[in-house]
Amino acid sequence: MPQTKEWKDMTWQEKREARFDRWLNPPEVKFVSKEAEQLYKERVTRFIKAIKLEEPDRVPVMLPTGNFPAYWGGSSFHELMYNYKKGNEIWKKYMVAFGDMDAFNGPNFIPAGKISEVVRSKQTKLPGLGLPKEATMNQFVEGEYMMPDEYDRYMLDPTDYNLRVMMPRTTPLFESFKKLPAFSNIMGNFWVMALTDPDVRKTFETLMSLTDEQRKWTAATLEISQYIKERGYPSLFGGGVMAGAPFDHFADALRGTQGIARDMFRQPKKLHEAMERYLNWTIETNIKNFPMTQSPICMMPLHKGDDAFMSDKQFAEFYWPTYRRLLLAMIDEGLVPMPFAEGRYTNRLKQITDTPPSGVVWYFDQTDMKEAKRILGGICCIAGNVPTSVVIKGTPETVKEYCRKLIQDCAPGGGFILAGGASIDNGKIENLQAMMEAAKEHGVYKK
C-alpha cells in the first residue's frame, strides 16, 4: 500500500500497521512455494491478531524450542559454537521433522566459539569457556562492575565511561582501553596518540584478525534465517535486540544485585538520575526513528523487577516508571515490545496495567496466568507459560493437558499466545509437538 501519510504524522497504530505489513510481506524473502507463502502469512496473521487483542483462527504458539534441535540432532551447544554448517544442517532437518510451527528460528543464540575465546567477557560463561563442555546453556556472571561512587562519572560522559572503564573491567581483550586518552580535550590527534600505544593497537589487530570468522558466523546465521522464512516460518525476533528495563541495565550489567539493592537505600537519587539519563539516551539513540525491521516484535528479558527481587513499593518507585516510559516510546514508534518477565510477576500484574490497550505483549515465565488474564485482559496480549519441567520431563499427554487448561483460562476473547515458561535444551520433540496439537485441538476460535 502506498504511504499517504508522513511517518511523523501517523498515529502509533498506523505506524504499527506499516510495520506489521512489512512483517507480513517481507521483501527480502523469496518463498519456495505458494503454499509456503500462504502458511507464512497465516502464521504471521495469527500473531498479529493475538497482539491486537482480536480473535485469530486459533491460539498462536511460540514453542520453547531454544537450542533443543542441537541435542535432538545428536550435537551440542559446544560443538555448534565451532561448526556453524552442522548447526544449520541440523536445524533444517529438525524443521522438516517437526512439521507445522507458527514460528521458528535458527541457532542464533549460539555464539561463535573462536571469537568468544578471544573476546572473553567476564560477564558470560559458555560451554568449554568457563563451563563444562557438556553445558547446554550460557551463563551470565553478575558482578559489581561499576563502583558505587561512579554514577557521576558515568553520567558526565557515558561513552567515555563505557569504553575506558567498563570494557577493560569486563573483557580482558579491552584491558588496553584504560590507556585511551579522554576525549574531553578535543585538540590534537586523539587516535594517532591512542594507536601509538602497542597494547591498544594489539587490541584492534586482534579484533580485526577475527573478521573472517565473524563473517562466516554472520553468513551462516543469515543463511539459516533466510532458509527458514522461505519455507513459510516467520520469526518473532526480527525487531532487533532491544534495551531492557533501565533498572535492569544498572542491576544486571553494572552494579549487580547487591550493589543495586544498597543503592536503592543509600543513594536512591543518584540511581534515579542515572536511570533517567539512560532512558533518555536509549529513547533518543535507539528508539526514535527505529528502522523498518523484519518484524516489529522486540523481546525484552526482564530480571530484577519480579516478585522475589523487590517489593511492590520498590517496583512502583524504581522499576516501573522508567520502564513504562521506555515501553510507551517504543509503542509510539509502532514497535511491539514483548517483555519477557522471568521469574514470577503475579504481584506485579496490578501495577503494569497503565499502558495503551494492545500496545504491549507480556510474556510470562512463572506468573499465575489466570490472574494475568483477569487483570491484563483487554489491555495486553499475554503469552505463556508451560513450565520447562513439564516440557522436558512430562509426557505428551501431560503437556497437552497443561496446555488445554492454559488455553481454557487465557484464550477466550483473543489476546493469548501459547508459550513455554522458558526455552528448553534437552527434552523430547513429542512434547513440543504436543503443544502444537493442543493449540489445534483446543485453541480454535469459533466463528
Partner: protein
C-alpha cells in the same frame, strides 16, 4: 611532617611543581650546565612570582624561523624529519634564551594519511613556499549539537567531530552510539568487520608508525635543549572555553550567531568545557616537568567582541579554568593574539597576584604594565611584523624601551608577540642582545 597535597595552598602546590621543574629530568652533562639550567629557570620563576631576578628572562617562540635559519623551508622540515634536529641545534647554539622545548613542527605525512581537514600547510593546500600553516575554521559542530556535546562528549567526539575533522574517520559516522554498554564488545567487533574500518585501522597504524618516527626526532630535540642547559617551558596547552567553541567547534560565524540565538546553550557548554579542561590540563602537567600551561587566545580580543560580550561569554568560564589549574599549582601562560584595550586589561587584572603570565602581541605594553603591574607577570612584545620589516638597530632600541617600561619591579619576560617564520637572523639576535645588555637588575 610534609603536608598533603590536599591541604596545600595553591602557592605551596606551585612551589612543589617548581621544585620538580628545577630538578632536570635527566642527568646533565656537567655541573656547569646544571648551574646554567638552574640559573635560567630561577630567572623565569622569579619573573613569574613578580620578584626581581638577576636579569629579565628572554623567551623566543621561534616556530618556522628554526627551519629558515638553517637554510630550509617549512615544507622541507614538515616532510623530511632528518632536517629538524640539525636545524634545532643550530638555533639553540646561536640564540641565548632562558628556556627551550623542541621545535613545533608537526608530521605532515601523519596528517595526510588520516586526511586532517583543519590545517593547510606548504605542499598541502598551500604553496610549497608558504612559511606558516593555515588553520581552517568551519562549523565542525552543528548549531543543534550542543546537547549531544554536553551530555555525551565522547560520543560527540567519536562519531561527529572526529570524522568531520579527520577524513579517514568517515566510517564512524555510520556507527551507532556507544552510550549504552549492552553488547558493546560485540558491537565493536562488528565494527571491525566492516571493510571501511579495516581501511581506517590500516591508516591509523600507518599514521602512528609515521608519528613514532617524528616523535623520536622531537624527543631528541628536547634532549638537545636539556643538554645545553635550557629548561623546558611547555608543560601543557589549553584554550579558553569560548575559544574551544569558537575555534574548534562552531567557528567564528557559528559562535557569533549562537551568542544571540542560543546564549544559554553556549554558556552551559562553556561551563562543561571549563570543568573538562581543568581535568585534562592538570593531567597533562602532572606528566610534564614544567608547570607552565600555554594558552593561545583568540576570540576575546578587541576586534572580535565588545567588552560586555567579553564579560558575559569569554571571561567567566576562562577565569574559572585559570583558577582551576592555578589551584593545582599550574602556571597558565596566556598569549593574547591581537590586542586588549584598557577595559579588558582591567578585567583580567582581577586574578590572585602572580598566578599567571600574560604574553601580549599588539597590546600597549605601557598600559599593560600600568594595569597588570600589580597583578601578574607580563611578556612581550617584539612583533613578527617588526622582525620582518625593521633593522636590527630599530629592534634593539624597541626591546630596550620595552625593558625600560616593563622590567621595573620585576614581573616581566622579554618575548616575541607571536611565533615567527622568516626574518633576518640579525633581528632576532638584536632582541637577545637587548635582553642581555639592558635587562640586568
Amino acid at each position: 611532617m610534609e603536608k598533603q597535597w590536599s591541604e596545600m595552598t595553591w602557592q605551596e602546590r606551585r612551589e612543589e611543581r617548581f621544585k620538580k621543574w628545577l630538578n632536570p629530568p635527566v642527568k646533565l652533562p656537567s655541573p656547569a650546565i646544571e648551574k646554567l639550567y638552574k640559573e635560567r629557570l630561577t630567572r623565569m620563576i622569579k619573573a613569574i612570582k613578580m620578584e626581581i631576578p638577576d636579569r629579565v628572562p628572554i623567551h623566543l617562540a621561534a616556530n618556522s624561523f628554526v627551519a629558515y635559519n638553517a637554510g630550509h623551508t617549512l615544507y622541507d622540515v614538515l616532510y623530511d624529519y632528518s632536517l629538524i634536529k640539525p636545524s634545532w641545534i643550530k638555533f639553540l647554539e646561536e640564540f641565548e634564551q632562558d628556556s627551550a622545548d623542541a621545535p613545533g613542527f608537526f608530521a605532515a605525512r601523519v596528517y595526510e594519511i588520516l586526511d586532517y581537514k583543519v590545517n593547510a600547510w606548504p605542499g598541502h593546500g598551500l604553496p610549497k613556499t608558504s612559511t606558516l600553516p593555515n588553520f581552517i575554521e568551519k562549523e565542525y559542530m552543528q548549531a543543534d549539537e550542543y546537547d549531544l556535546f554536553m551530555k555525551d562528549p565522547f560520543d560527540f567526539g567519536l562519531r561527529k567531530f572526529t570524522p568531520r575533522t579527520w577524513g579517514a574517520f568517515e566510517p564512524f559516522t555510520s556507527v551507532p552510539s556507544f552510550s549504552s554498554y549492552s553488547g558493546l564488545p560485540e558491537r565493536l567487533m562488528m565494527m571491525c568487520q566492516d571493510p571501511n574500518f579495516k581501511k581506517l585501522f590500516k591508516a591509523i597504524v600507518e599514521a602512528s608508525d609515521e608519528n613514532a618516527k617524528h616523535q623520536k626526532v622531537m624527543m631528541e630535540c628536547a634532549q638537545e635543549s636539556l643538554k645545553r642547559g635550557f629548561p623546558p617551558l611547555m608543560g601543557g596547552v589549553m584554550l579558553a572555553p569560548f575559544d574551544t567553541v569558537a575555534d574548534m567547534l562552531r567557528g567564528t560565524s557559528g559562535v557569533v550567531k549562537d551568542m544571540f540565538r542560543q546564549p544559554e546553550k553556549l554558556l552551559e557548554s562553556l561551563e562543561i568545557i571549563a570543568d573538562n579542561s581543568i581535568r585534562s590540563t592538570v593531567g597533562m602537567v602532572n606528566m610534564a616537568r614544567s608547570p607552565i600551561v600555554f594558552v593561545p587566545m583568540h576570540k576575546g580580543a578587541d576586534s572580535f567582541m565588545s567588552v560586555p560580550q567579553f564579560e558575559k561569554f569569554y571571561w567567566p568560564t576562562f577565569r574559572k579554568l585559570i583558577l582551576g589549574v592555578v589551584n593545582e599549582g599550574c602556571v597558565p601562560m596566556m598569549i593574547i593574539d591581537g590586542s586588549y584595550n584598557e577595559a579588558r586589561l582591567k578585567i583580567i587584572s582581577e586574578l590572585p597576584k602572580s598566578c599567571v603570565i600574560w604574553t601580549m602581541e599588539k597590546t600597549d605594553m605601557a598600559l599593560s604594565k600600568k594595569i597588570l603591574g600589580n597583578s601578574a607577570c607580563i611578556a612581550g612584545n617584539v612583533t613578527a611584523a617588526m622582525l620582518y620589516t625593521q633593522t636590527a638597530q630599530q629592534i634593539k632600541e624597541y626591546a630596550r624601551k620595552l625593558i625600560e617600561t616593563c622590567a621595573p619591579g620585576g614581573g616581566y619576560i622579554l618575548a616575541l608577540g607571536s611565533g615567527i617564520d622568516k626574518c633576518d637572523p640579525k633581528n632576532l639576535h638584536a632582541v637577545v642582545e637587548a635582553g642581555l645588555e639592558y635587562g640586568k637588575y
